[in-house]
Point group: C3
């Protein structure tokens, strides 16, 4: 593959999954692949898991890491074409991406959506600009609308916890005090589509995901019914797509509790707000897979980087 910006670029997702599993089994089996190779990690937004797991993955491959918090270490970048740059933006993405490409063999980019302009966010302005102007592969460290390293780690975690060919998976919206992106939910749905699981999405009315994401999947506004006999419950908050970026509900009845979970496994991408998104009792139970999901982030990143280095 040329970039790892979304699962769409992955010709053989099952091979990528197998590679991630192989990396977990032996993290250092390709520790010479990254010799004299450098990955640049550009953060436009905060990061804990992504920052550490992607560095760890690079180090497992013997790669060097150049990490930069763009806004605090550098300056604002301009992404529009043809403008007269006399405001607060000191450099154009055309130069920045081309320059960083010369120091790095792969560039990772994290840039969240503004959540005010849906068209702009779903055009993936920042990520697309890097793909357009960089001369090396781009790896998506969570963009405006997708988080494919999380999606791959999630798929891997599900594989590790069921023998079923077609487990029942429920993606449930959950309450949150702030407006959050749809990126994790979008990537989870796309990966579950590829995985061929029995996926149900449940959320209050008004929280429909983008039509191109949700199409073909069961959507149920009744959480309890949706969750019946689920093997895995994936909880996640997102703000409204239709009333873009709005928090339409903070209804605490949508919080995941042990009663709702039943015998299912619990999943979440983290960070998670305890007793808002999910109760302590769920997170502290052995049914919670959230720490394992985070661990698998390393191997998802490692598999993606191997694929890009070998492409």
């Amino acid at each position: 593959m040329k970039h790892y910006s979304s699962i769409t670029e992955v010709a053989h997702p099952n091979e990528l999954l197998d590679l991630a599993i192989a990396c977990k089994a032996d993290p250092y089996h390709q520790s010479d692949l990254g010799r004299h190779k450098t990955v640049g990690l550009l953060f436009f937004n905060p990061s804990l898991r992504t920052r550490l797991s992607t560095q760890k993955a690079a180090q497992n491959l013997g790669m060097q890491v150049l990490s930069m918090d763009v806004s605090s270490h550098g300056w604002k970048l301009e992404f529009e074409s043809g403008v007269i740059m006399n405001s607060d933006k000191a450099e154009h993405i055309k130069e920045a991406a081309a320059v960083v490409s010369q120091y790095c063999d792969i560039i990772g980019v994290r840039c969240f959506p503004g959540l005010t302009n849906r068209e702009k966010d779903y055009s993936e302005q920042v990520l697309s600009a890097f793909m357009k102007y960089a001369s090396v592969p781009i790896i998506n460290l969570e963009s405006a609308t997708s988080h494919p390293l999380q999606g791959l780690a999630d798929w891997m975690t599900i594989k590790e916890h069921t023998e079923k060919e077609r487990p029942k998976i429920v993606l449930s919206w959950a309450p949150h005090p702030k407006a959050l992106p749809q990126s994790v939910a979008n990537s989870f749905v796309k990966y579950m589509d590829v995985a061929g699981v029995d996926l149900t999405i449940t959320h209050p009315p008004g929280y429909e995901l983008a039509p191109e994401i949700a199409k073909g999947f069961k959507v149920n506004h009744d959480q309890a019914t949706a969750m019946q006999e689920a093997d895995f419950i994936y909880a996640k908050n997102w703000s409204s797509y239709t009333e873009y970026g709005q928090v339409l509900s903070q209804d605490p009845n949508w919080m995941i509790t042990p009663e709702k979970l039943g015998d299912a496994f619990f999943m979440h991408c983290l960070p998670v707000r305890r007793n808002v998104v999910v109760s302590d009792a769920v997170l502290d139970s052995p049914q919670s897979l959230v720490i394992k999901q985070a661990n698998n982030r390393t191997f998802a990143a490692q598999a993606a980087m191997i694929s890009l280095l070998k492409a």
Copy 2:
């Protein structure tokens, strides 16, 4: 030892000291020990010496380093149990510590006290939470009430500069414009206790250290008398323990000067305010050991990490 959170966990402090001295003699004699090992350094507060010397120590051992300024690179963490996390804290320490444990073989944590709630600070909420919820050893990079890497480096520096079995050491409070923690003073006293030196503590009334720290040591409110015939003067400001976190005095008469120093060596953990804590003439004299103390921080950290990796 399981963690290096304070000297209390060190079963054989003399062996740790010897190891630090051995690391200084040959910094690379265990440069394979850290192969495929990673230390995560989490900074909740600013750091220069600790940041650089701990990284240097890890590199001397061949370890990878993942360094993170938690508040600027990530988000606020919740340390209380059972709360409904709907305020400004995005992640609970339970998840954060468990997740980072998967990327790291050792986690270093620096978190200063708030200096408003003594009970809370002396419970070492943050450091304790990491020890409780992480699954790997924790190394204290200066906590609310102790700074054991500094204490070990200080002991090492004293050893290098005297042949005496029982040198006379004076820990002197010194003025400072801001309220500072008691952590360095606490760890210095604990290490001097183990070292079996002749320790005198001198400070203005109201600056008594915690009873469990100071017990058994000579305390003298008259700085001049206390310092007579000292071999080493260790200056440090701290805010009041009894009137917790208060600056009760900024009396410039407590500043260390060449007259007070006499033939003694001068020590301080740095950063130091020149001509407030200590005069230029002392710091610029050959009797000042402050730069050597800072150098020994690397080898103290290296010894602690070796001990944790081999535990």
Copy 3:
């Protein structure tokens, strides 16, 4: 050489240039030189190219890197001698430089001018203090008045694009909304002096560079005449030296356009404001060398570090 603070310290500039070219031809030909060596990079100001290219250069040599954003990761430093440090500056450069010297084999420092006090800026207070108080070589990552890594990379880029013994080079002032340092222009002129090219400087009246920099070079206030038959046009904004730090003109007629460029190559150190300093059409043309200049920064830094390690 002892330091790489400016070209003045370089006894044999042509050898340094040849070394940089050799590093580009084979970046890893001295990858053992940096074994068990550490470079500390101290940033008092933002940086993208310098941050990444200098790290990359160090990694090419097998060196460890300790990178620190002084103001956000640490605290304010005092540079004046003899002061009573009871304000907001927590550490004196004397201690900071001496301490960091113990963790590093080379220290890189980036510190921009204040642009309010010319005498202070041109005394290079910060860089000079590091050279005075550090016990290891200092490498200038852009100081108040010079940017010698950029100068070397620029010379290298010119060498790669002409066979002429004495190409005609024009350094043109260009408009910018903010007050910028003279550092890049100063270093470019100094390197061009060494290179023995035919240099013309063009700028509006009031933008004369420091007399010790500009002396002996042709200065022309008419941009069009100055640029005639140029082989290379180097555009750069700087604020006034005579009316120190002032923006005397933002005249858009000084922007570089294809008409002005003619057949010449275009150079700029980046970051560049598109359609303010230079038009899109120039930057997007094959005559633009700006991306190549940035790439050469890695090899300029590598050559400087090799020279310092071998000194």
